[in-house]
């Protein structure tokens, strides 16, 4: 899919921040991926390594953590956690669920020098 271009997006953010944050090397990048984000983590790892060759982030580690979506079950009237977009409420089995977020792809922080 578009993991390669997302990695180029990450690299550009690293390059853009190098000057303002005073660093020349990036050793680790921590990315938070929403549980429903349209992204394959394995593909992201693969592309990140390729995209970062011969750049300030060459060989940098990529840590991907998952952020859960906020889901509200209208039948139960409470917040629940679901695995997939098409899963029912784990408590009552209703599909009347409202999800908020869970599709962001964000860089959280960097280890640099």
């Amino acid at each position: 899919m578009h993991e390669m271009s997302l990695c180029e997006g990450i690299l550009q953010i690293l390059q853009d921040n190098a000057k303002t944050q005073n660093y020349t090397r990036v050793h680790r990048v921590r990315v938070e991926v929403g549980q429903f984000a349209t992204i394959e983590k394995d593909a992201l790892h693969f592309c990140f390594e390729v995209v970062c060759r011969n750049t300030l982030a060459e060989g940098a580690a990529l840590d991907i953590c998952t952020a859960a979506a906020n889901t509200w079950c209208m039948a139960c009237g409470k917040a629940v956690v679901i695995e997939d977009r098409f899963s029912p409420c784990p408590d009552c089995g209703s599909y009347q669920l409202q999800t908020d977020g869970g599709d962001d792809i964000r860089i959280k922080d960097l280890e640099v020098n």
């Binding site: 997006g9 964000r106 922080d109």
Partner: protein, 281 residues
């Protein structure tokens, strides 16, 4: 590939021209433009040799979102009602669109942006209806992005208060993630595709604002379970409107036109381009 959007640099084309080159990630252009991260003279700070943590908190799709927001503001300023049409290849999107254009062109100003990997066949089909159309070829890209749409709108210059149909690349995966600045995403699903498609491609159906279930004239010939399809779609997006249409026979198309007219009119309330605002004195 373009870092903003995923269009492959040098591949994406707007009909009649090539997209301007995306300078923002070629190393050469960084030398002349940005100077970020290239050597100690630019980026080295004394006493900073230890590794340290830097908080960034930056959205990786943020660039596309900036372009999308700019498009949305522009559409709003001109009273343009933009619809992003998404579907898998072969759902009858272009046939549905040409029929819509033919039947609405006397009532509303219309314009079309066509996205396909290659060829301008679809834009030519659209122009045969008399409606202005512009083709974007994404080359190796799998979706349209907000940046391409901004340039296409520059060239096409849709009339004020028009309905702008953006026919996205036939793909139920990637276009879900890329906001173009549209007022609504319209997902088109045909009954020849199988009733469980909303479950197989949940991201797209979750992102959609309305679903058109096309080719319903073929239902008697298929084992398509209509009720299951509606149930599955509403599992992904509770409360979503689903219109059953046939772009071939015209069945149900009036509902689709009503939706366009009503949604557009609601968005134009209080807008300088609203016809009703001049009528209400």
């Amino acid at each position: 590939m373009c870092t903003v959007c995923g269009c492959a640099e040098g591949e994406a084309r707007i009909e009649g021209s090539t997209l301007h080159s995306h300078d923002h990630h070629s190393p050469e252009s960084h030398e002349t433009n940005h100077h970020y991260g290239h050597g100690p003279a630019h980026a080295h700070a004394p006493g900073m040799s230890q590794t340290r943590m830097v908080q960034i908190e930056q959205d990786i799709l943020g660039k596309n979102q900036e372009y999308a927001n700019a498009n949305r503001t522009r559409f709003s300023d001109h009273g343009i009602f933009a619809l992003n049409l998404v579907s898998s290849p072969g759902s009858g999107k272009t046939t549905l669109l040409t029929r819509t254009l033919t039947e609405l062109r006397d009532e509303l100003p219309l314009a079309v942006i066509e996205g396909d990997q290659e060829t301008s066949n679809d834009a030519e089909r659209i122009r045969e209806t008399g409606v202005p159309a512009l083709q974007i070829n994404t080359g190796k890209g799998c979706h349209l992005d907000a940046h391409q749409i901004g340039h296409a709108v520059d060239s096409l210059d849709p009339p004020d208060a028009s309905v702008l149909f953006i026919e996205n690349v036939g793909n139920l995966v990637c276009p879900a993630a890329f906001d173009l600045g549209e007022a609504a995403k319209v997902a088109i699903l045909s009954v020849t595709e199988g009733e469980d498609k909303p479950l197989k491609y949940p991201d797209m159906f979750h992102a959609a604002d309305i679903v058109l279930l096309n080719k319903i004239d073929l239902l008697p010939h298929l084992d398509f379970n209509l009720e299951a399809c509606l149930t599955y779609t509403r599992r992904i997006k509770p409360g979503i409107q689903i219109l059953q249409v046939s772009a071939k026979t015209g069945e149900g198309m009036a509902d689709w036109y009503h939706w366009i007219q009503a949604t557009r009119a609601a968005r134009l309330v209080g807008h300088p381009h609203s016809q009703s605002s001049s009528a209400c004195r």
